[in-house]
C-alpha cells in the first residue's frame, strides 16, 4: 500500500485540527500531511485578538495554542508564509507560493482539506480601502492595529459595525483610553439579538463612555491629503472625525480559491459540505469559517464563523480521513459575548429568525439574579425565551446580565438541542445552592413563564374560535 498524501490549506483551528486528528489515527508511514499557512502563526485564537488589543492578554504568543514547531514535531510538513494560489481538482494538485521568496510550486494531493477561514467584511464604498482603515481577522492584523494605537497619533477611533466584533474592538480601544464611536445602520446594536435585548447592550456601552451612532450606517471614509482616513461619513450626513477606522462588520467566508477551483458554494456563500464535511468535489473536504453549517431549527444552511465550530469540524474531517466515522450535526446559533461588564448570550432562533423560519411562537422573559437574591455578589440577569405555540417546544433563548449570567445559555442550548418543551425544561434538576442560584434558577423561572404564555395562548385561541 503506497502512502497517501493529505494537503491542508490553512493552518488555524479547522485545518490543524483536521491534520492532528488524521495524524493521531494514521502514522507517517501511512499518511503524509502537508499543510500550508500564509501567515506567521498556526492554531491561534482569532477571537482573542480584541483582548490582546485591549491589553487584557499580554502577548500574541498567549493566543497561540500550538506553534508550527509543535505541529512539525507531530509529523506534519508545515509550510509557513506559503499561500495556496490555485487548486486543480481534476489532477489533484495545488499551486503554492512562498511569500518570503516568491517561489511558486505545485504539490499533488490524494485528499485535500480546505480551511481558509474568513475575511473581514469591507464595504465597497469610497475610502474603505484607505490606509488607517483596519479589519481585524488574523494575528498580523492585530500587530498592525496595536502598532497604530501605540504610535501616539491615534486619539479618536470610529468602529464601523455594532456586532460582536465591533463592540469587542470598541471596548478594547476604549480601555486603552481612546475616544471611541461605534456606527451601525441598525438600532439597537447586536443585530442577531432581539431589539429589547440589544437595548440593554446599547445602554451598557453608552454608560461605559463609548458613543453610539445607531440607525445610521457608514456611507464613506473621508481621507486626508496623505490619503489616510480622517473621518467616517454616515448615511444621514454626519461626519465623525477619526484618526483610525476599525471594521467590525463581521466576516465572510474566504472562498475565492474554492470558487476558482469549481468547488461548489451554497446560497449563504459558504462552501457546501455534507455532515462528514465532504465538499461536492471528490477528495476535497472543508471545515471552519469558510463552510456553511446546517441550522437544526431553521433548516437553513448558514455560515457561522466561530472557533468552536472550526475545531469540531476539523476534528470530524480528521477522524474521517483517519479511517473513522464522524459527523458534524449542525448548529443552533449559540453565541456569547461580553461588552464592558455586561454579558450577552443567545441560542436557537431570535424572534426575527423564528418568524422567517415560519414558526408561530410566544415569548416570555424574567428578571432575576445570578445567585440567591440575598447572597453577596448576586447580579441581575434577564432570560428571554421563545416557545412554539401549542407544542411549547423551546425555540430560542437570550440572556443579558452581569457576572455569572451568560454561561447559563448552555443549559438552554442543550434543551433546544434535545427539542425539549418549556414544560419539560421547568422540571429539570438543575443545581441549587445560594452562592450559585436562586431556589428557582432564572432559567427555570423563564421556562415556567414561557409555559404559562403557551397555555394562555391556547386558551385565547379557543375563546376566539368560539366567537
Amino acid at each position: 500500500m503506497s502512502r497517501e498524501r493529505l494537503v491542508v490549506i490553512g493552518g488555524d483551528a479547522a485545518g490543524m485540527s483536521a491534520a492532528s486528528q488524521a495524524r493521531k489515527r494514521r502514522g507517517v508511514d501511512d499518511l503524509e500531511i502537508v499543510a500550508f499557512e500564509r501567515g506567521r502563526a498556526t492554531s491561534y485564537s482569532a477571537c482573542g485578538i480584541p483582548y490582546w488589543i485591549s491589553g487584557a492578554v499580554d502577548s500574541e504568543q498567549d493566543l497561540i495554542a500550538r506553534t508550527p514547531e509543535q505541529h512539525r514535531a507531530n509529523g506534519i510538513d508545515l509550510r509557513m508564509r506559503t499561500e495556496v494560489v490555485g487548486i486543480d481538482t481534476a489532477t489533484r494538485r495545488v499551486s503554492a507560493r512562498d511569500l518570503e521568496t516568491g517561489r511558486e510550486y505545485d504539490e499533488a494531493y490524494d485528499q485535500l482539506v480546505y480551511a481558509t477561514g474568513s475575511v473581514p467584511m469591507r464595504p465597497r464604498a469610497e475610502g474603505f480601502d484607505a490606509p488607517g482603515v483596519y479589519g481585524v481577522q488574523v494575528l498580523d492584523d492585530g500587530v498592525q492595529l496595536i502598532a497604530e494605537l501605540d504610535s501616539g497619533r491615534v486619539e479618536r477611533v470610529v468602529v464601523v459595525g455594532g456586532g460582536y466584533i465591533g463592540l469587542e474592538l470598541a471596548e478594547a480601544c476604549q480601555v486603552r483610553g481612546l475616544d471611541v464611536t461605534v456606527v451601525d445602520r441598525s438600532a439597537p446594536p447586536l443585530g442577531t439579538f432581539d431589539p429589547d435585548i440589544g437595548a440593554f447592550v446599547a445602554d451598557a456601552v453608552t454608560d461605559m463612555g463609548i458613543a453610539l451612532v445607531l440607525g445610521d450606517g457608514a456611507a464613506k471614509v473621508e481621507t486626508g491629503p496623505d490619503g489616510r482616513a480622517v473621518a467616517v461619513h454616515t448615511q444621514s450626513g454626519r461626519r465623525l472625525p477619526a484618526d483610525l477606522v476599525v471594521l467590525g462588520l463581521g466576516v465572510r467566508p474566504n472562498v475565492a480559491l474554492a470558487e476558482a477551483a469549481g468547488i461548489p458554494l451554497g446560497a449563504s456563500g459558504g462552501i457546501t459540505v455534507d455532515n462528514r464535511m465532504r465538499t461536492l468535489v471528490d477528495g476535497v473536504w472543508a471545515a471552519g469559517d469558510c463552510v456553511e453549517s446546517w441550522h437544526r431549527l431553521s433548516g437553513q444552511r448558514m455560515v457561522v464563523a466561530l472557533g468552536t465550530h472550526a475545531n469540531k469540524q476539523g476534528r470530524v474531517v480528521g477522524i474521517n480521513l483517519g479511517g473513522g466515522y464522524a459527523t458534524f450535526p449542525g448548529v443552533i446559533g449559540t453565541a456569547v459575548t461580553k461588552v464592558c461588564d455586561l454579558e450577552v448570550a443567545r441560542t436557537g432562533l431570535s424572534e426575527a429568525e423564528a418568524e422567517a423560519a415560519g414558526y408561530c411562537f410566544v415569548t416570555a422573559h424574567v428578571d432575576s439574579t445570578t445567585r440567591a437574591g440575598y447572597f453577596p455578589g448576586a447580579k441581575p440577569i434577564r432570560v428571554k425565551l421563545l416557545a412554539e405555540k401549542r407544542s411549547g417546544t423551546l425555540l430560542g433563548a437570550q440572556i443579558v446580565g452581569r457576572d455569572g449570567a451568560a454561561k447559563r445559555i448552555d443549559v438552554l442550548a442543550t434543551a433546544i438541542w434535545n427539542e425539549m418543551s418549556v414544560d419539560e425544561v421547568l422540571s429539570l434538576d438543575l443545581s441549587y445552592a445560594p452562592p450559585f442560584a436562586p431556589v428557582w434558577d432564572p432559567v427555570l423561572i423563564a421556562a415556567r413563564k414561557a409555559f404559562e404564555a403557551v397555555e394562555a395562548d391556547v386558551r385565547r385561541d379557543l375563546r376566539s374560535a368560539r366567537g
Copy 2:
C-alpha cells in the same frame, strides 16, 4: 357548590408553594386555605442559614422570601407558631396546638398537604442531646447558634459530619475566626462524590485552616459539670475539645406525624408519593424534604432534601389542587456547593451509585480552565464523567474548580435528563468566547475523552473476546 377546605401542614417552601399555586387557580370563594407553621417564619431559605451564620448574609429577614403577612394578604389563613399534633385521615381532621397559648383544637379538611420538611440527623450515642450541641435546620436554630457564637465563650467548634451542610457550617464558623474541626467517618469528605473529587475538597478545606479528622466518626460527646458539651470523642479514641458542637450529618424526613396517621412511607424513610405528589391516602398530598423522589437513572426512590425540589413539588401539588394537571418527573441527583472558594457540583450517578444500580461504565476526566487559558481570571476546573459501556450514555458528572466552574454541571444535568450519549454531548453547540470558555469548553473535552474511553473499552472487549 360548597367551598372546599385545604389544610397545609408546614409553612416553608413546599407547603406555601402548594398553597400559593392553589390560590392562584381557585379564589377564596371556591377554596379555603388554612396553613399551620410551628415556627416564626414562612417561606424562608434554610440553605441560606450557613451564610447568615458566617455574616455573608446580614439578617434573618434576608432569608425570608415571603412573610406571613404576605401570605395572608393572598387569602391564606396562616396559623403561625401552631403545630399540628395529629391527623385523622378517616374523618379528615387535624389536631393543632397553639405553641404560644397551649390551646389545642381540631380543623377539618377536604384536602391535606403534608409538608413538614426534615430534621437534622442526630446520633443516638451519648451526649448528642446535651446543651451546646446544635443541629441547624430552621431559622430558630440559626438564631440560637448565632447567639452562642456571639456570646464570646466559643473558641473551638467541632462539626460532626463532612457533607454539604457540615462543610458549609464549618466554613461559616471559620470565617467568624473560630478554631474549627470537622469529624467524618468517611474519608475523604463529601461522601456523595467520588473519592478523587472529595480529595480536592479535603485539600481546599485544610488549606483554609479547617482541621479535618477523617475516616474516624464521632462516637460520643463529653459533657462538663454543667452538663454542657466540652469535647467530641472519636471512634478511634481521639478527644477533640469543643466549646460548641455542630451537627452536619444531613437531615432525615420529618415523618413522625405521617407515620402515626398511617400515611405510608417508602423504604427510604420518606413519604411515598406518585408523580402528581399524592400519597397513598385519599385526599392527602405531600411535598418537599419529607417525601421520596424517583431517581431517573437508578430507578430507586430516595429522599433528596433541597429547596429547589420542595418548590417544584409544592407547585405541582398546588396546580393539581387547583384543577390543573402537573407532575414531578423525578430527580437525577444534581447538587452544588461552595467550600471556601472551591466550587463542587455533581449530577447523575457517582461511581458507587452507578455500580449499585448495576451499570457497566467507564470514566474520564479533564483538567481545564473556566475561560480561555490566556484570558485574565481563567480558573482551574476538573470535569469527570461516567458513561455507560457500549452505548456511551452519560450516567454521571462531577465538577470541581474555582470561580465559574460548578454551574456548568447544569449542562450535563440537562444532557443526562435527555439520555444523551457522550458522543452527542461533544457535538453540542455551547457558547464560546474567550471570557467565558476555552474554544473547547471543558464540558465538551470531558465528553470527548469519555467517548474515547467508551471506544477504547469496546476494542479491548473485542480483542479479549478473540483471545
